[in-house]
Amino acid sequence: MSNHVLTIQTKNQPVVLERLLQVTRYRGFEVAGMEMKPMADFSGLLVTLSIVSDKPISLLTNQLNKLYDIEFLDCVESELTQAEAGSMRA
């Protein structure tokens, strides 16, 4: 099980969060945490997704990168906290 944090900049479209979550779920990854806020000039959204999975994260980032509304995606591996690991197993 590995934990990754995806930092994603998107267009400011109402449906964009659904798209991100739909692709993440369908491709077999679990969301352990999520934050979203509009960019300072409201031109887009900044989304941070904490992802837990036993699959290579590239299988998700390659799919997310294809989304029309995604403008930037950065992926960093992070430590899985005890609480997150427990909640994922619950």
């Binding site: 449906v15 659904e18 390659n62 799919q63 294809k66 029309y68």
Partner: protein
């Protein structure tokens, strides 16, 4: 002008000549704008049929297919076709009417969240909330549908946007995008050339991405300059001409024995525009077990998705294939594959008087005029078509590959006939599949389309029954269709003549009668319910462990 008029003007400007659809309340302004337009609308009898016709149009022509539907049930009826287009990478633009924004979210009449529904079945989907965004959104939809890996794009347009006033200045000249110079991946290409030169048993595994990249000629040049055996997926049939001695046919669950054995034995698998689909690989861990892999695709997400490649390249096959071409050193391997091809050739010496579907389809293939289009449905007949008919180009074989959608064939044939009015179009269907979009006989009648319909009728859902026989202890749950209608009478109700045959000696005269008839025609072919498709790789087995008829 109104937003609805802009939609039609923009379709005209983009050179769209044919669209398929079905009107309803929330899209009435667009249908009103369509009245007396240069864009020719084909009224189907079900939105799913209309979208499949648009898919058939796109796949047989290489253009974008366009379909329209109203809100609610009209839009939900498109969903299966959108999924079909997504899984087979077909460029499709679907335009749906939506209820006015003032009532959106109130569970208004014929309101459904089409944008939400579309997420899983489209490459992208838009909702236009402001009429000033309409032109840009529609242009983006067409660009997206065709660019990169093609796919379906949905544009949902609320009724108030259709009725709103907007400025639109038709452009006299289409924008011509400047072709971007693509930098070839030099290091990866050098690695690929070395792998090919050093391989003792190379094989090309060719998918639909080759012809979708318009790289059929480059692929054929590559195989001529770097001689090696080749196999194709269902979608790529016709990419390698049947005259190529080292072409071994389709691989996978119902692939040829030569194709499957060769792939299992190869030491270099060159995957071109294909995606290691489970119907191709069988047991993935045992697929081409000794092979290094070169994988080229336009979609980065396909690389390493299911099989790690030693050499992976993203890019345009038209550029990469010539740059990868080097002489091969595999004479013994070529001879071995030729021997396997001869050893495992098809046999047509089926005993008895009754019709043997593989032989009938071979005879159909031989009787077809050049450059005919064959549309299939899904099931046993679909696999028999892939095994026993020959195709000179992938645009001549339309089969629902990824989604495997019964009901695809008849409406797809309508689209193909409109895209290529001078070519003969045949749909080969099963008795189960045919009934799934049978209402489109009405479309054939209305537009006097000379589509030839061949129904291979075993009075069963044959493929499911075959699996019940082989893997479910002959428990034939809900696969009996022995109460089928009289198909010839059914066609007659739509003014389509037809004929029914059940003996081998009737096949050739019946094909002759069908092809000499100037209009649509239905040929009903009765076959035995016990006939199965062979070979077959059982679920979970490796591809060399095919079941054959003799083994049963």
């Amino acid at each position: 002008m109104k937003g609805a008029e802009l939609v039609i003007k923009l379709l005209e400007q983009k050179g769209v000549e044919h669209i398929f659809g079905y009107p309803g309340g929330a899209i009435m302004p667009i249908y009103d704008a369509l009245y007396q337009s240069k864009v020719k609308h084909y009224l189907c009898r079900h939105e799913q049929g209309g979208a499949f016709s648009a898919i058939g149009y796109a796949r047989s022509s290489g253009k974008v297919g366009v379909c329209m539907a109203t809100s609610g049930p009209g839009a939900t009826n498109l969903i299966t076709s959108l999924a079909d287009a997504l899984l087979d990478s077909v460029p499709l633009v679907a335009i749906t009417g939506q209820v006015s924004q003032a009532v959106m979210g109130t569970d208004a009449f014929q309101e459904v969240d089409v944008l939400g529904l579309s997420l899983a079945v489209t490459k992208h989907s838009f909702m236009v909330t402001d009429v000033t965004e309409l032109e840009h959104t529609l242009n983006e939809a067409f660009t997206l549908a065709m660019s990169g890996r093609p796919g379906p794009v949905l544009v949902d347009i609320p009724k108030d946007v259709q009725l709103a006033e907007v400025q639109f200045k038709p452009r006299l000249v289409e924008d011509t995008a400047t072709a971007q110079q693509e930098f070839l991946p030099a290091a990866a290409l050098e690695q690929a050339r070395l792998l090919i030169q050093n391989a003792k048993r190379p094989i090309a595994y060719i998918g639909g991405g080759v012809h979708m990249a318009d790289a059929v000629a480059q692929l054929q040049d590559f195989l001529a300059n770097s001689p090696m055996p080749s196999v194709t997926t269902l979608k790529a049939m016709g990419t390698v001409p049947p005259s190529n001695a080292y072409y071994l046919g389709m691989l996978g669950m119902h692939g040829t024995q030569a194709a499957n054995h060769a792939v299992q034995q190869c030491d270099l698998l060159i995957c071109l525009g294909a995606r290691f689909d489970d119907r191709v690989t069988g047991k993935l861990a045992a697929f081409a077990p000794d092979a290094k892999v070169i994988h080229i695709d336009i979609d980065p997400a396909e690389l390493h998705k299911l099989r790690r490649a030693e050499c992976a390249m993203i890019g345009d096959l038209r550029e990469l294939l010539p740059a990868m071409s080097v002489p091969t050193h595999c004479e013994d391997w070529l001879k071995h594959c030729l021997v396997m091809k001869q050893q495992h050739g098809w046999r047509y010496d089926h005993p008895g008087e009754r019709i043997f579907a593989p032989l009938m389809l071979k005879q159909l293939s031989e009787r077809l005029p050049d450059n005919s289009v064959v549309c299939c449905d899904v099931g046993q007949h679909q696999m028999w078509v892939a095994q026993h008919m020959s195709f000179s180009h992938p645009r001549n074989h339309l089969s629902s590959g990824g989604l495997g959608t019964m009901g695809f064939g008849l409406p797809a044939a309508i689209g193909a006939q409109l895209a290529r009015p001078k070519d003969t179009v045949v749909t080969v269907s099963g008795d189960g599949s045919f009934m799934m979009n049978v209402q489109e006989l009405g479309t054939i009648k209305r537009f006097r389309l000379p589509v030839k319909i061949v129904i291979v009728d075993n009075q069963r859902l044959g493929m499911v029954k075959q699996w019940q026989e082989l893997f479910f202890n002959e428990r034939y749950s809900e696969t009996d269709l022995s109460d089928n209608p009289d198909f010839v009478s059914l066609a007659a109700a739509f003014a389509i003549p037809g004929h029914s045959i059940s003996r081998k000696d009737e096949v050739l005269p019946a094909l002759e009668a069908m092809f000499t008839w100037p209009g649509p025609y239905l040929l009903h072919v009765r076959i035995d319910e016990t006939d199965n498709v062979w070979p077959l790789v059982p679920p979970g087995a490796a591809n060399q462990d095919m079941l054959t008829e003799k083994a049963q």
